[in-house]
């Protein structure tokens, strides 16, 4: 049996200098912007080398580097990471550089100016002094270059069989010439890619489909790792059964995912080199990638010491695995002799322990998941009536896919949801919670933190919503961001055309034509917007009260449910109201009501609804399955196109909507800046808001 025992990693991947500039925006043609921070550092192929080196694997750079300021910078950075440069500086010119413009929301824009690293020059790959104990890392960038790719393919064919070949195809995976792809994959010992890149290959992001596409092209002994963002990674390969092994990642708050893949690959190689089994090495790689996404920049891989500390702190679900002591032990020195342990494989005992452990914890989630169990499970969802979870098509599809049937109980006010949760422990498995209330519910011990790894679709959630500070307490998410929207102005088309401000609520033109949502937080929020205050914490409640009281001549009624709103609007009881964006879409689409939805100039009150799991639930795995289905683009697109829905937190789902969908009209990108998201309110402020609204309502009634 062939064993891999490598003690050094070589990379031929191009290293450029990254000139990173943080700018408020990309300048328009002919324009200029002032950057806020700038740095120059080695980039490109440097990140994997640095990750491997920091994790205890001796690493060497076998590519070209030039003479000049950028070449100097690269050599200095390599030296600092203890990475040897095997070639002398190329005298023909300098290394290339890449201009990276980073906008405040993290979006990056690149301009690349190639240098000596892009040319073959006098370099012959065959001249690189390869040793039997070397691992060579090749990226998709190298393979996709027209001249370099075939060259590398020929080169790998000439190696001794002991040389370990690791390939990460990167985002250019589809651009690699087919012959090069086939030749190198057949030779590869480790093929690691992320799920999106896998989807580019297989045409679907289904793990089984990706594996079915890649594995026939790999040799039988090769290990395939599919990285899946926050969900960790899935391993396929020799010694592992047909079922992929899911290695979950520890939950962290991502701030910048740049370089996470490189950190993963570097740490995975370092772990394998240290003699860890594939699963244990992948667990470390997950931890390294998790740490890297908590840092800004590209070469953000942690050192093995940081990974150890992170794992020892018990934040890795794998750390508790009794059968995987290596995952928590400190790194061992690379072994000198080849042993079976070096081969990336899992023995049966470890596999079963992992499998059952993961299943028990509800962690093992495989895309295109099979039935959760033969026994019929019934879960109860507590939600507003007619708010997505009770769509008949969804319940049918979900029951067919999982065997889990879903029952419902409803509430008519958020506080009623609280009352029901508090007074009926054990009755509910999934509950809809407005993120503004999450911390209150969490403080009462009514909901559990959610393991996002058990919700595979969570990887596509917009980070700004998934990681919203409303939901997270002590580094754990107490709910999965599901839908967002806003409370803005709904007016009768044709009858009201001049409403651009909340001030229309007290415009004498519309006496007796206003309906208000009977909710203290919303109304105080509107009063605060009208008086230029923070809707979450208005300092001057007297001014808010006055502004709300001024609406009295206009107020016809207060409403408390969408159904009530639709009936009253259809009966022509009012022309203007504060209304929910999603409900507005449904009113237009289903009830054919003539309304315009407007975000006033003072701003609208944004909200983010989450699905959470009550602490008292006895069917948590099924609950998480249901939550996962609820954020699935397939469900969302059907719901949104058939009935109308608030905006999904899942970016993939929003993109999947038809171009002429009403949602594109209601959720206009330019309005996003005007949104004031509701946040958690302390009890005393909530009571103060309620007192204001009660007083105002009493005044209306006089």
């Amino acid at each position: 049996m062939k064993t891999h025992c490598f003690t050094r990693m070589l990379s031929v991947g191009s290293i450029l200098a990254d000139i990173r500039i943080e700018a408020p925006r990309v300048p328009e043609r002919g324009g200029d912007v002032i950057g806020s921070a700038a740095s120059i550092s080695a980039g490109g192929g440097f990140n994997v080398l640095a990750a491997a080196s920091r994790n205890g694997l001796k690493s060497a750079f076998a590519g070209r580097h030039g003479v000049g300021p950028f070449g100097d910078r690269i050599r200095a950075d390599l030296a600092q990471e203890n990475i040897a440069a095997l070639l002398p500086p190329s005298p023909e010119g300098d290394s290339g550089f890449c201009l990276v413009l980073v906008e405040p929301d993290g979006e990056r824009t690149f301009i690349t100016s190639p240098g000596v690293e892009a040319e073959l020059g006098e370099r012959k790959l065959e001249d690189i002094p390869l040793e039997a104990s070397d691992a060579v890392f090749i990226s998709g960038y190298d393979l996709s270059y027209a001249a370099l790719g075939p060259h590398i393919a020929r080169w790998t064919a000439s190696w001794r069989s002991e040389t370990f070949l690791a390939i990460d195809p990167g985002p250019l995976v589809a651009d690699i010439p087919d012959a090069v792809f086939r030749a190198t994959l057949a030779r590869a010992d480790l093929f690691t890619l992320n799920r999106r890149e896998g989807a580019l290959l297989a045409g679907t992001d289904d793990l089984f489909a990706i594996a079915a596409f890649v594995r026939p092209r790999l040799s039988a002994k090769a290990l395939l790792a599919i990285r899946d963002g926050a969900a960790g990674c899935f391993l396929f390969g020799a010694g592992l059964t047909e079922t992929p092994v899911h290695v979950p990642a520890p939950p962290v708050r991502a701030v910048d995912t740049t370089g996470a893949g490189d950190a993963h690959t570097g740490a995975l190689l370092a772990g394998l080199a240290a003699g860890l089994e594939a699963v244990a090495a992948a667990a470390r790689a997950n931890a390294a990638a998790a740490l890297s996404v908590t840092r800004r920049g590209s070469a953000t891989a942690p050192t093995s010491r940081e990974v150890n500390a992170f794992l020892a702190a018990g934040r890795n679900p794998e750390a508790g695995q009794k059968d995987e002591p290596k995952a928590t032990s400190t790194m061992k020195a690379p072994r000198e002799t080849g042993e079976n342990a070096m081969t990336p494989h899992l023995n049966r005992r470890t596999f079963h322990a992992l499998f059952s452990g993961a299943l028990g914890a509800g962690l093992l989630t495989i895309a295109g998941s099979r039935r959760a169990g033969a026994a019929a499970t019934e879960i109860t969802v507590l939600n507003w009536k007619g708010y997505g979870t009770d769509e008949a098509f969804a319940l049918k599809a979900f029951a067919e896919a999982t065997g889990v049937t879903v029952k419902h109980d409803y509430f008519n006010a958020e506080a009623e949801m609280l009352t029901k949760l508090r007074t009926n422990p054990g009755a509910y498995d999934v509950v809809l919670i407005n993120s503004a209330r999450t911390q209150q519910v969490q403080a009462d011990g009514l909901i559990d933190p959610v393991d996002l790894n058990a919700v595979p679709n969570a990887k596509d959630l917009a980070p700004a919503l998934r990681d919203h500070s409303n939901i997270w307490v002590d580094g754990k998410p107490y709910g999965v961001a599901w839908l967002w929207g806003m409370t803005a102005l709904a007016v009768r088309s044709g009858k009201v055309s001049d409403a651009q401000s909340w001030a229309v609520f007290s415009d004498p033109k519309y006496a007796g034509r206003l309906a208000l949502f009977d909710d203290s937080i919303t109304q105080v929020g509107i009063g605060a917007l009208l008086t230029n205050q923070d809707p979450n914490n208005p300092k001057d409640l007297k001014a808010v009260t006055t502004a709300l009281k001024a609406m009295k001549p206009n107020v016809k009624l207060t409403w408390s449910s969408e159904d009530e709103w639709n009936k009253a609007f259809a009966a022509d009881a009012f022309d203007i109201s504060d209304y929910w964006s999603g409900a507005a879409a449904r009113s237009i689409k289903i009830h054919k009501l003539p309304l315009d939805f407007i975000v006033p100039k003072e701003g609208a009150i944004g909200w983010l609804d989450t699905l959470a799991v009550p602490t008292s639930s006895t069917k948590k795995p099924a609950a998480l399955q249901f939550i996962n289905y609820m954020i699935d683009p397939k469900f969302y697109v059907t719901w949104a196109t058939q009935s109308g829905a608030p905006a999904s937190t899942n970016a993939a789902a929003m993109n999947a909507l038809p171009a002429d969908d009403l949602s594109h009209k209601i959720y206009k990108p330019e309005d996003l800046a005007k949104l004031k998201f509701m946040s958690a309110l302390p009890d005393d402020r909530r009571q103060a808001f309620n007192d204001v609204w009660d007083e105002v309502k009493a005044y209306y009634a006089k």
Partner: protein, 302 residues
């Protein structure tokens, strides 16, 4: 209690063994009802009474803090006085209208109908009891709104009249409540009216009294017990009602009932809600006390 006290005294003269057995029988017959009342009324009510003296509802990890603050609500929140007055006004209007409509109906039912026709008329009276309250209220919204049944009917008669919309107004609340509570008034007044001895009225007539005098001097005073107990039966729940004011009242439908409901389901301030409810209970008890002085002893016994 009254009953238990009476039984032995009544039986004491005949035998000494039967009373013991009767007492057990009486206790056995009473136990389920009073046990149920203890569980269903006394326990939750005393829990609510306890809550009303707390600073925050005792759920989750909150510490218990006793306070009297909640009972100062009417001083701290002066607008509540106005709300309470609105509730009492709604109660007075509803009770008054019910009496005005119910008393003549009851007298007519008791004195001028017989047999089958009386049965059918009674059935019609209690019909509101058989319909779901929410259905009843929502059907009123269809009648009262602009373009609704009432508006339509009016314009059939007078096409030039301005549009009529009673929905979301004080009268709408009273209309909905009168509909719901009128049967109480008719039933209590019927009992009184049916008990009037025909001989009294014949005697008055033979002495030359005309109908208005008979009504004022004989029928009305004799119907008074029914009128008063009907009024109490109506007034008490009406000042605590919240469904009709909320749905039919729109903007003006803010009553103690809706305020208390808000405290429970919106603000989750159970203590304040409980305190408001007990304050209203106090008002109700005062009304009982006053009415028991007004009523003759005979009426109370009845």
């Amino acid at each position: 209690m009254q009953l238990e006290a009476n039984v032995p005294r009544a039986e004491a003269s005949s035998s000494r063994q039967i009373p013991a057995r009767r007492r057990w029988t009486t206790a056995a017959l009473l136990a389920p009802a009073y046990g149920w009342l203890t569980l269903a009324v006394f326990l939750p009510l005393s829990a609510m009474l306890f809550f009303s003296f707390l600073k925050a509802a005792p759920f989750g990890a909150r510490p218990l803090q006793l306070t009297l603050d909640n009972y100062l609500a009417f001083i701290r929140r002066p607008y509540l006085v106005g709300v309470a007055w609105t509730s009492i006004e709604i109660g007075l209007w509803t009770t008054g209208l019910s009496a005005l409509i119910g008393l003549p109906a009851a007298i007519a039912l008791a004195r001028a109908t017989r047999g089958r026709s009386q049965q059918v008329l009674f059935l019609l009276v209690v019909l509101p009891f058989w319909t779901n309250g929410l259905v009843r209220v929502f059907s009123w919204t269809m009648v009262l709104r602009e373009g609704g049944v009432l508006d339509y009917a009016l314009h059939l008669v007078a096409p030039t009249a301005p549009p009529v919309s009673l929905l979301y107004s004080f009268p709408a609340i009273v209309i909905g409540l009168v509909h719901a509570y009128l049967p109480y008034m008719i039933l209590t007044c019927y009992l009184s009216a049916a008990a009037i001895d025909e001989a009294h009225i014949e005697a008055a007539r033979s002495l030359g009294a005309r109908t208005p005098v008979i009504f004022a001097k004989i029928v009305l005073p004799l119907c008074l017990p029914g009128l008063i107990s009907g009024s109490i039966l109506i007034f008490v729940p009406v000042i605590g009602s919240f469904m009709e004011p909320r749905i039919l009242g729109g903007r003006v439908g803010v009553t103690m009932g809706t305020m208390i409901e808000d405290q429970f389901v919106q603000a989750f301030n159970w203590p304040l809600g409980a305190a408001l409810a007990f304050t209203m209970l106090g008002v109700v008890l005062v009304i009982f006390a006053v009415s028991s002085r007004v009523l003759p002893a005979r009426v109370i016994a009845q």
